[in-house]
Amino acid sequence: MNRVYFDYNATTPVEPEVLDAMLPYFSGEFGNAASIHTPGQRARGAVETAREQVAALIGARAQEIVFTSGGTESDNHAVFGVVVQAFLPVPTSKNPDPSPHIITTAIEHEAVLNACQALEKSGVRVTFLAANREGQIDLDELRQAVRPETVLITVMHANNELGTVQPLEEVGRIAKERDIYFHTDAVQSAGKVPIDVNKLGVDLLSLSAHKFYGPKGIGALYIRGGTRLRQLLYGGHHQRGFRPGTENVAGIVGLGKAAEIARESLAADARRVSTLRDKLEQGLLARVPHARVNGGASLRTPNTTNLVFPGIEGEALLIALDLKGLACSTGAACSSGAVEPSHVLTAIGLPPEEARASLRFSLGRHTTEQEIDFALQVVPSAVEQLRELSPTYPKVAEAR
């Protein structure tokens, strides 16, 4: 079966050059980067080259990059690490219990959301900023949420489901004015849009290799020099003690190579992919009655479109399309693999039935014109087939 892939936000294939760069570090150059001897030094060299490559992708210095197991660990490290280590105001009669306070958004990835919720249970206060229909937070609301005990603002760069990009420079300015640490989950933006940690004003930034053609299980946390951050794991002295554990040399090399390729091809990729994305989006809007784009008026990553097809269940459409050879995504998979209503779509104000009727198509470096044509042929007919059997579609059609 001809199989086309529109789920690059979930993961991407490892670029052949990346794989080639990694392969020597499994058996030939197998040294432990923490060892003193020559094999160790060779591994260390490869790790440090990768650190520079990753730093270059986001405008950071190499010593500000810590390698982690991926986006989830980076996010947890940032959130827990800042809060545990934070200085708090002295208790006063007015404020006898100055528990630390975090500001985040309702549309974060679960890695940030659930970390904040876990802290909430142990007494940390958390403000979850709402997002509007276009997936954007309100900066005034952010300003008003700041308190003397606010120790961290964590706002994602690009949203995984919508592709919408937050105005991080503004957030960074607000954080800097109030002297609050600022973390961003850039897992969905790294490699897709230009990132400069100094321009954005972030102190901490999470990224993950497999979202930009690197291997799974490796990521990085950018930690601005001087940031007070408690380590998450305890062990040896690897990575300045920030992240103990024998370095995943092959993975780190893969991440570095993927970052290098991303930096070189980012502009050209973005132009090409956004043209294809727009063609897909416009084509589907034209061919599927009542279809709309979620977050479409916002600044978005070039590869993502999230569409609502009223009157259908996204879960059924996803399966129908998969059986026809087209892979895309809806909502978030729970531990059993069943689809749960997307907290992002609910948070931006979509009614539950529309949240369930939404599908995400995310394109990538290998998406072709022919694949877009295939999607434009298959998706409208699948939606039509679903609507014919849908008990809710007649109401949708009538209401418009």
Binding site: M1, D322, L323, S336, G337, A338, T368, E371
Partner: protein, 383 residues
């Protein structure tokens, strides 16, 4: 794709084509054997496992250990996935939690609270498996939905009706739970195990080397941990804001003599002897439940035996609604030996059933299903 990626190494999946069959897979041996049988017939299959209930909803019912052998436990989902991987067909977990709660769990609790004894499996079949799941099966391109039920379906070429029949293996027969199916639902369903015995099913599972071939059977109501439905009703009511306050009441004899108190009518079912909470000379049984007065009425075994009762929401399956009383065998609970009875349609989807001889513990909320030989003529809820 123009480049070679890891996707080319996925197990080959069923092409969409005429005759695709969706299989409802619970992760148990029965429903796992269905795709093996269909594949032996050369038919393309797609597996669907329903996520129906989240045990975390009622954390107070959680034991200390992992949630094994419970509804939608991850183990069962993984078992279904493992079978699909083994037989190399596509498999999806689909979320019907909202429908399950609305159409099965909440009515189950409400029925108990109103003094009836419901059958959740029938609601699940009629209103979930063969309703939204069957619809989804068709939406994704399958012509039919196959399940692991022990029952048979056949088209009667003379009457043009789809008929529901008892399973060949009488000890496994589940036709009692399927009387609510419409002609359209039956026409799009398949029960491939209907002709097989349990042992034959196990043999097929072993022959196909299914990873669940030796899995023990689960007989519990899937969403009620440990089968303790009283505890479940209390926990669910608390979590859903249903007040059980004031549900306690009197236990009385048929003559109205108060002989004890109870903590809520949901703790009782007709014919129940245990748990009446007091000892008297002769065995007493619950003979009726009066929800309006919160009374549980008890009496001796003879008082439990009645002859006539009414049913509602009657569905005629293998024949049209008869215009005259009909003589058939009626079954009033899953383990009841069908007894000769006259079924008299009353209009408004009701009917009166009169047994030839009194039957024990005719219980409101259970179903009466009438048979002509192996054929399920129809059924209805006991009022």
């Amino acid at each position: 794709m123009t480049t070679t990626t890891q996707f080319d190494t996925l197990p080959e999946r069923a092409e969409i084509q005429r005759g695709l069959v969706a299989v409802a897979m619970s992760g148990g041996v029965d429903s796992s054997t269905v795709p093996a049988l269909l594949q032996e017939q050369g038919r393309p299959v797609v597996g669907l496992t329903m996520q129906l209930w989240n045990q975390r909803r009622l954390p107070e019912l959680q034991g200390d250990g992992p949630a094994q052998h419970r509804c939608c436990s991850l183990d069962d989902v993984y078992d279904a996935k493992a079978v699909a991987q083994h037989l190399k067909f596509p498999h999806y977990v689909v979320n019907f939690e909202a429908q399950f709660e609305e159409r099965v769990v909440r009515p189950f609790v409400n029925q108990y609270l109103s003094g009836r004894t419901p059958i959740a499996c029938t609601n699940c079949n009629t209103d979930v498996k063969f309703e939204p799941l069957l619809r989804m099966a068709r939406q994704i391109g399958a012509e039919r939905l196959a399940t692991g039920h022990y029952a048979r379906i056949r088209k009667n070429d003379v009457t043009g009706r789809w008929e529901l029949l008892r399973a060949r293996d009488e000890s496994k027969d589940q036709s009692y739970f399927l009387w609510g199916l419409s002609q359209q639902q039956l026409s799009r369903s398949e029960f491939p195990l209907g002709e097989l015995t349990k042992e034959e099913v196990r043999a097929v599972a072993r022959r196909a080397q299914l990873p669940v071939a030796e899995k023990p059977e689960s007989m519990e109501l899937c969403f009620v941990p440990n089968g303790n439905y009283v505890q479940f009703i209390q926990a669910y009511s608390r979590a859903s804001g249903i007040s059980l306050h004031g549900s306690e009441g009197e236990i009385v004899t048929e003559t109205g003599e108060v002989i004890g108190r109870h903590n809520g009518v949901h703790e009782f079912t007709i014919g129940q002897r245990k748990g009446l909470g007091f000892a008297v000379g002769k065995p007493l049984y619950v003979i009726s439940i009066d929800q309006k007065q919160n009374r549980v009425v008890v009496g001796d075994d003879d008082a439990l035996r009645t002859t006539a009762f009414q049913i509602e929401d009657v569905n005629w399956v293998s024949c049209d609604t008869p215009d005259a009383p009909l003589y058939a065998f009626a079954k009033i609970r899953h383990k009841h030996e069908p007894a000769a009875a006259t079924i008299e349609p009353l209009g408004m989807n009701r009917a009166r059933i009169t047994f030839d001889s009194p039957q024990r513990a005719i219980t409101p909320g259970q179903a009466a299903v009438f048979y002509d030989g192996d054929r399920v003529l129809g059924g209805g809820w006991i009022r």
